[in-house]
Amino acid sequence: MAKYLLLKHYRGAPASVNDVPMDQWTPEEISAHVQYMNDFAARLEKTGEFVDSQALAPEGTFVRYDGEGRPPVTDGPFAETKDLIAGWMVIDVDSYERAVELAGELSAAPGAGGKPIHEWLEVRPFLAAHASCITE
């Protein structure tokens, strides 16, 4: 088993095929979308592949250390940041192919007009903390 992060971007990913912002959908289309996402997570829980799913607020702040005895420097929010993460799902699956397959299904969530969004999701493998005992 290996863990993968399925990343959803507010910005920074190529445009979706069905690229209509959610506040322009009908309330029923929003309900259908939410239902699809809930069902997807519930299904992965049943197959034993679900790890975690979180959404992020759009506004963040950059912070860095500024030397001994000083408060950290903060900057932002960066409205013009190129890449903005909206949320993620972590899955634990048997193969890279399975991770891609699931990301494809997640990207098919319905959007405007009830049609799939075809949203670009980023699939990132986790670097495991320990070397596997069968790597040699």
């Binding site: 959610m22 506040d23 322009q24 959908w25 009908t26 309330p27 289309e29 929003i30 309900s31 939410v34 239902q35 809930n38 959404a55 607020a57 759009p58 506004e59």
Partner: protein, 392 residues
């Protein structure tokens, strides 16, 4: 005795009770009891207004039943709370334990964790799960909290207000902050809310303080709406759109009774005032019949007691309902725009005022600032509803 008349009145009487948020089965029982009473009393003493008489008697029967159900549940709760055999701790010890777990030297999250563990008797795993953190993290938080209060003397009375704040936090974690424009933040996580009620009930039994009663009443009145608060798909249902027949009338009756006896002691505090507002909502058979004028008066009272900006934000909503959206927007204009949920309130008031374009824009903006996913989806849906409306 005109049996046909009696029969013809029955559905109307039942409808009144069901509309008053009684559950159907209980209302039906109460009406039956009232009919039996009518058969007994009317021949000798016929009422001038037959239906009015039946409604009054049936409602009284219903409330009696609700109260005795509530009393039975309380007795059962007490049974559950009985300590394991052995030296039983005195009531004062229980109270001291509450004070200790809410000690001012603790951070709010530590006080909450310690209260649930030490007073509530939940396992670390249960608490960790409720707050969505790893068990090891919660174990550390609790043991650090225990170390923090290790030196605190157990014999000195603490401040009830700090205990109430902790219990309120626990309840709110299961409920998230409510706002009167329609419970946009009513995110359900019932086990924590139920636990908060149980702990507050236990505290009320250990101490004689009208604010403890006020908080208990407040929790019961909010908890009574839990079934109506979410749609089958998990989305939030605003207060005005909730099916009031699904409110828990026994919980409401108990909350109102506790509140009334607390208010009678004439030592008003913020929890009693908040409970009074919740009781006014519970008392309205429909959203349209809400007594917003009285709610505004309670918010004025609450603002005097706490001077909290959140209270003034809620007050602006109530003013909008009592005196019209323009008055609400005027009340809003005096507040800091960076207040949480300010934009959501502004959107709602603009919609009520008929400015749907501004409302839609503000709903979208509010969705971006929403503190949780359920609210985010709810506010986006509000924007979508206005953006995609068909012109009439």
């Amino acid at each position: 005795m005109d049996e046909a008349l009696l029969r013809s009145l029955t559905p109307g009487v039942l409808a009144v009770l069901v509309r008053r948020a009684a559950d159907f089965a209980a209302a039906e029982d109460a009406v039956q009891d009232a009919l039996v009473e009518a058969v007994r009393v009317w021949p000798a003493d016929p009422p001038r207004d037959a239906k009015g008489w039946l409604v009054t008697v049936a409602w009284r029967k219903f409330l009696d039943q609700a109260r005795s159900d509530a009393a039975r549940r309380r007795r059962e709760d007490r049974l559950d709370e009985e300590p394991a055999p052995g030296p039983a701790p005195a009531v004062d010890d229980t109270l001291q334990l509450y004070f200790l777990c809410a000690h001012p030297s603790l951070t709010p999250s530590s006080a909450v964790a310690l209260t649930l563990r030490a007073v509530g008797g939940l396992t670390t795993r249960q608490i960790a799960r409720a707050y969505l953190v790893p068990e090891a993290t919660m174990a550390q938080r609790i043991s650090r909290a225990k170390r923090t209060v290790a030196g605190v003397r157990f014999d000195r009375p603490g401040d009830v207000a700090t205990v109430l704040r902790v219990l309120y936090l626990v309840f709110n974690e299961g409920y998230s902050g409510d706002i009167d424009l329609g419970g946009i933040a009513e995110v359900p996580q019932y086990p924590l809310s139920a636990e908060a009620i149980r702990l507050t009930r236990q505290l009320a039994a250990a101490t004689d303080h009208p604010e403890v009663a006020g908080l208990l009443a407040l929790m019961l009145l909010h908890h009574a709406r839990r079934a109506a608060r979410t749609a089958p798909d998990g989305s939030l249902v605003p207060l005005a759109e909730q099916d009031r027949r699904r409110w828990d009338t026994a919980s409401i009756a108990e909350g109102v009774r506790i509140l009334q006896s607390a208010l009678a002691r004439d030592r008003l505090g913020e929890y009693q005032a908040q409970a009074a507002i919740a009781a006014l909502h519970a008392d309205a058979p429909t959203a349209e019949e809400t007594d917003w004028v009285q709610i505004v008066e309670w918010y004025d009272e609450l603002a005097r007691l706490t001077d909290s900006p959140v209270v003034r934000l809620n007050r602006a909503v109530a003013v909008g309902e009592a005196d019209g959206p323009r008055a609400g927007l005027a009340a809003l204009a005096a507040l800091d725009t960076s207040l949480p949920r300010y934009t959501a309130v502004a959107a709602y008031l603009h919609e009520r005022d008929g400015d749907l374009t501004t409302a839609a824009r503000l709903y979208s903006e509010a969705a971006q600032k929403a503190p949780n996913l359920a609210e985010h989806v709810h506010l986006t849906r509000q924007a979508a509803r206005l953006n995609t409306r068909r012109p009439h």
